[in-house]
Symmetry: C2
Subunit: 209 residues, 2 copies
């Protein structure tokens, strides 16, 4: 099973080699895998913010509790969630689905209404959490695609969202930084790569009913 | 890229063929992929509850807003999050890591203290959300592994956690149902399989900085 090998190979890189870059083709494959993530109702309530500019990456470091990875990595992929998932957002999604599937205009109106009911029954905070959960599916796909390409990554929750939002000008785009994935190539002397992966045995993780 | 093909192949099955079962070997591979998911601090704050009993699967249907998939699928994998991620849970995790990596007893005490500080600074609700986010990484890995094995699945947020907790006796195990994945094989007449996958184009999903 390739996927098991890839997942075994992956580790959270603590130190990237700043001289190595992820190729545009590989970056596209990685983002494509993220874009293929399942999301609630297929609404895709997120955007990728891909930071390659070295100065900007370096500015993220103090707002990442001084973890050095954003400064060293080839690219920092910020998965940002939409803060504007409202009736208009959902109608636009339904209209786009009608177009892609060659349906008639308005054929998904009933479904859109159902989605709008479900989503707008959540308050702003609940909706943010709902979108953030979806963004973790996206994150997983990015990590798996990276590993399949033997590209290193480091999932990061340890950052200050408000400062990321400000530095990357996310609020004006109705976005909020949810989770961060620096990607690139491990430094030769990243000791972390030599540590045994630790997972509790499957039998301790599973109940069969 | 195999992973892109797998992710393209995947769809949310609306109707499973109840006569087809996922083999024990494939089930193990799928769960292994989930168990290899990255989680915050590597704490793995979740358990798999794998329901194969047909009666029990059927009992889940009314608490799944009458979606039929739990009743038809080969197995229903409930990803349940731990509600007891406290200092003891974290210390046990650190001790296990010391054992697996051949470290000295107590060598990770400082790191454990740091984790305990971070996790216990969250209130009960925040901690649940934190664990649930991790469970969505696990969910993604399960779906990707299924697709790699040409096994169908259907991620489900539409269920009543309290009723799942009750039916599956989760509270006594300090668990809370987070997200649900029926797996199995699509019914030949599941119309959903013929629909074009809808994703907004990558260029509309991405900002480059």
């Amino acid at each position: 099973m390739d996927i098991i090998e890839s997942l075994q190979w992956r580790y959270a890189a603590k130190k990237f080699d700043p001289s190595k870059s992820v190729s545009p083709g590989d970056l596209k494959t990685i983002l494509e895998a993220g874009n293929l993530a399942a999301t609630s109702y297929g609404l895709q309530p997120f955007q990728f913010v891909v930071v390659s500019d070295p100065d900007l990456r370096q500015q993220l470091v103090p707002f990442s509790y001084n973890q050095p990875q954003p400064g060293q990595a080839s690219h920092v992929i910020v998965i940002a969630v939409n803060t504007n998932v409202d009736a208009d957002f959902i109608k636009a999604s339904a209209t786009y689905t009608e177009q892609v599937r060659g349906l008639e205009d308005g054929q998904l109106d009933g479904y859109a209404k159902q989605m709008i009911g479900a989503i707008t029954s959540m308050d702003e905070e609940q909706r943010l959490i709902w979108a953030q959960k979806q963004s973790y599916i996206v994150l997983a796909n990015l990590m798996t695609a990276c590993a399949a390409l033997k590209i290193d990554s480091c999932p990061m929750e340890g950052f200050v969202p408000a400062e990321y939002n400000r530095l990357l000008d996310l609020e004006s785009k109705n976005l909020h930084a949810s989770v961060v994935l620096p990607i690139g190539y491990r430094a030769e002397d990243d000791e972390q790569q030599n540590f045994t992966k630790v997972r509790r045995p499957l039998k301790e993780m599973t109940h069969y009913l």
